[in-house]
Symmetry: C2
Subunit: 141 residues, 2 copies
């Protein structure tokens, strides 16, 4: 099986070597096996794991939260109900993010429309996005 040094892994994953050691300290990457001289030996699927971490960060998850998501798969003997509960909770948070992004997107769409219609934009359509509750904002002009 193909093995990667930390430098090769870093290049493939597009991150810094120091970042990988940092992730290892934070338990986001499992301690890899070592050569007799102490070099870390990664398998290529570590690239995917790092990709997951990086993308989840872009979505506003903290490293701590990402660690919890990644931990969902370990320990196949774990209590199935507990895993499911945490997964469902994660899904809820994801759905909330999607909903807010949708409102933000629609506000931006309205902004473009307003701009085209030469509406007075002193009243900012973008602020209609991301309100705590989905209040009425049907004022096309």
């Amino acid at each position: 099986m193909e093995v990667l040094t930390i430098g090769q892994l870093a290049r493939r994953a597009g991150v810094n070597v120091e970042t990988l050691r940092y992730y290892e300290r934070r338990d986001l990457l499992p301690d890899p096996p070592r050569t007799s001289s102490g070099y870390r030996q990664y398998t290529p699927d570590a690239v995917r794991r790092i990709g997951f971490i990086k993308r989840a960060q872009q979505l506003g998850f903290t490293l701590h939260e990402i660690g919890e998501l990644l931990a969902l798969r370990v320990d196949p003997d774990a209590n199935c109900d507990a895993v499911e509960e945490r997964a469902e909770h994660a899904i809820e948070r994801i759905d909330a993010k999607v909903a807010e992004l949708a409102r933000m997107r629609s506000a931006l769409g309205e902004l473009v429309t307003a701009c085209h219609a030469r509406c007075p934009t002193d009243d900012c359509p973008i602020l209609d996005a991301l309100e705590p509750e989905d209040i009425d904002h049907a004022t096309p002009c």
Copy 2:
């Protein structure tokens, strides 16, 4: 018209007073008018603006990006095409986030399914989420 001191605004928006002054320095909040003694005088709509900032942060936008989003509405005389272009770009980034969240969500759903089916979870379904390209991952068990 109702005016708010910085402390009142902070309480309503659920943030620290220092945070508001910090946002002002970062130009996320416009410099408000002042009383003769120098106290800031906010209008209640500042609460919405801060809500926008906080929610956008949860979605992984940096304060810099949030500033750009908020700037989209100022200067009604600005070049309409430029505003539209930036808004479209923002929409693209939002759509990308939504797509990644959707993949993450579906991976979590699969995880729950796998757990119920007592699949061997050594092969982690959650890592199938957030792949750079939507590669085939139709291995229900």
